[in-house]
Point group: C2
Chain length 329, copies 2
Amino acid sequence: MVTIKDIAQRAGVAKSTVSRYLNNGSVSQKTRTKLDELVKETGYTPNTFARSLKANKTNMIGVIIPRLNSASTNEVLNGIDEKARENGYELIITNANQDRERELSNIQTLVKQRVEGIILLAREITDSHQSLIQEANLPFLVLGQRAESIHSIAYADYEAGQKIGRYAIELGHKSFLFFGVSEQDKAVGLERKQGFMDSLEEEKDISVEIIETSFSKRIAYQDALKVLPNTSASYIVCATDNIAIAVLKAAIELNYAVPEDFSISGFGGYEETDYVQPSITTMSYPYKDMGIQAVEFITELIDGTEIPYETLLQNELVVKNSTKAKRKA
Amino acid sequence: MVTIKDIAQRAGVAKSTVSRYLNNGSVSQKTRTKLDELVKETGYTPNTFARSLKANKTNMIGVIIPRLNSASTNEVLNGIDEKARENGYELIITNANQDRERELSNIQTLVKQRVEGIILLAREITDSHQSLIQEANLPFLVLGQRAESIHSIAYADYEAGQKIGRYAIELGHKSFLFFGVSEQDKAVGLERKQGFMDSLEEEKDISVEIIETSFSKRIAYQDALKVLPNTSASYIVCATDNIAIAVLKAAIELNYAVPEDFSISGFGGYEETDYVQPSITTMSYPYKDMGIQAVEFITELIDGTEIPYETLLQNELVVKNSTKAKRKA
DNA sequence: CAAATAAAAGGAACCGGTTCTAATTCTATT
DNA sequence: AATAGAATTAGAACCGGTTCCTTTTATTTG
C-alpha cells in the first residue's frame, strides 16, 4: 500500500507538504501539478485510520436495527442511508436480531468503533439501555419509541390509534376485536391500543375483546384461527399490518368474507397490504421521513446544536377494501 | 477519553507493559491485578484506530447490497450477520440503491475503510466492476451471480428454471406466459428463463409468450393488467415471487380464477407467497445459507486458503395452491 | 536594490496503540 | 553466595497521517 511518505519522497517534498496538498492548500502550482500526477499514477488514498487517529473524528454513524427482515426498518434505513450519504457520513449498520443483550453489546461495539453518534431503532428502552447510553456519552437518538432523557423521534401512535377508532365508529361498528402485541413495546403494544380504546370512550353499547398476539405472521395466523370462530366482532383492529395480513389469511381460510363478515385494518402502511385480497385499510407511517429526520438530528447533536428531546411524526389513514360500513342489523 | 498512557502512568508502568497485559500476557500477577483494577475503574477501551493502524488489520468485512427493501437480501444478510459475528468480524453494510455508479463508489469506500474482504450481492457484473475489483486487490466474493475470475456463490438458477418447466409439463400445461426481467441480470433474467425454455425443448405443441417486466411489483402489476386479457396461456411463469404476487393481484382484479383459469408460479420462496390468496407455488432459495457460506468463504480467502471459484447452491420446488393440473380440453 | 512581507516548504511532535530490543529483576542451581 | 537462565519490564521506534512552528523562497514596495 502506498503511503504519504512514498508520495513525498517521489515528489521530493516533505510529508507535511503532501498533507497540506491533500487538505486545505497553500501549495505552489508546480508541486500541486507534480502531486496530482503522482497520486493518479499510484492510486494513493489516505489511510482512514491514521486520519481518524489524529483527528479524533471518524465520520461514521452507528445504526442499530432490531431485525433485518422488516419492511418498516428497511424504509427507515433507506431514509437514513440517503441523508447520511448527503451529509458525508458513513454508516455502520448492526443488527440486534431482536435480542436485548445483543442490542446492548451492539451499542458497546459502536462506541468502540468510535462512531460519532448512534441511532437506535427501538422496541423498548430499559434501564440497562439508559445507563449504557449515559456512559457512552455520545449523541444518541432513539427512533420509534419515546425515551426519558434521551433524544427521540417517535410516531404519533396514540393519535393513530384514535384515528382508527374514530374511523370505525363512523362506519357504524360497535363490536371490536383487537389483536395487539406485548405492552413492553410501548409504542406498538401500549399507545396504539390506548389511543384506540380512548376513542371509543364516549360511545355507547361498545364491546371490545383484546387478544395479545405476536409480531410474527405465523403466530398471529395461528392465534386468529383459534379466535375468529368465537368472536361476535364486526371490526378487527390489528396493531400491525403483518398481523392484519395474517388475520386476513385466517379469515379467508375459515370461509369468512372480508369485509362483509369482518372489517380488518392494520397499522404501518406496508406495500404488502396492497397485494393481498382484499387490500387492507391501514395507517401509513412516514418511515423514510423518520430516517431522514434522524440523520438531520444526529448531525446537529454531533455539531453540538440543541434539538427537541421529543419529536412526534404524524401518520394518516389509508382506506382500502378490507373495511366497510356495518350493515344495519 | 482515557488512553493507554493514562493507565500506564497511574499504574506506574510503561505503555508497553499495559499493551502486553491487554494482548498476549507475560505480565506478573501483581501488575496484572493492578491493571485489572484500573481498567475496570476507568472503563478504558483501546482505540480501534490506533490498533488497526499498527496492525494493518481491521477485522471488518464490507457488504454491498443492491437495495434495502428486499426480502431475499435480508435473508442473506441475516446469514452473513450471524456467521460474521461468530467468526469475530464486524460488518459494514452499504447500500447501492440499485445504482451502478453507487455500487462502484461503495467498493471504493469500503477499500478506503480498509475492510479485509468484500461481499457483493450482485445484480450484474460489469467490466468496471472487474477492473475495480482487480485494483482493490482484496478478497472479494460475489453472491447471486457468476462472475469470471472472481470468486462467487450463485444459485442454480438454470436448474431452477428447468424444474419449474418440468413441473408444469407434468401438470399437462402446453401454453405458457413468462414474465421475466432484463437479461442484464444474468441469473434472474437469463438463466431462469433459459432453464425453463430448455426444459420444454422435447415437448410437442408448446407455446410460450415472453414478457419482459420489472422487479417492481407496481410495474409488474400494470404490465399484467395489459397482458392477461389477451393471453391464451394456462400457466404463467413469473421470474420472481414479487412478480408472481403482482400478476396474481392483476388476475384477481380482472376476475380470473387462480389456479382454475391460470396456474401461476414464482421464484424465491418468499414468506409473502404464503399470505396471498391463493398461496403461490415457488422455487425456494437458500438465502440464509448463502450468507453463512459467504462469510465462511471470505474468511478463508482472508486467511489465504484456496476456495473454489464458483459455487452453486441448489433450490427446491414448493408446491402451493396457485398451480394445478390443466383440465383436459 | 535592499528591506519588508507574503507564500511555500521543511521538520518535529503528536494521535494511541504495538513490537522489538535491551535492561532489570527474579528464581534456581551448584 | 555467585551465576546462569528465565521472566518481567522499560524505552524507543514505528504505523500513516495532521499540525504547529520555523526556515526558506518568492514577491512586493519604497
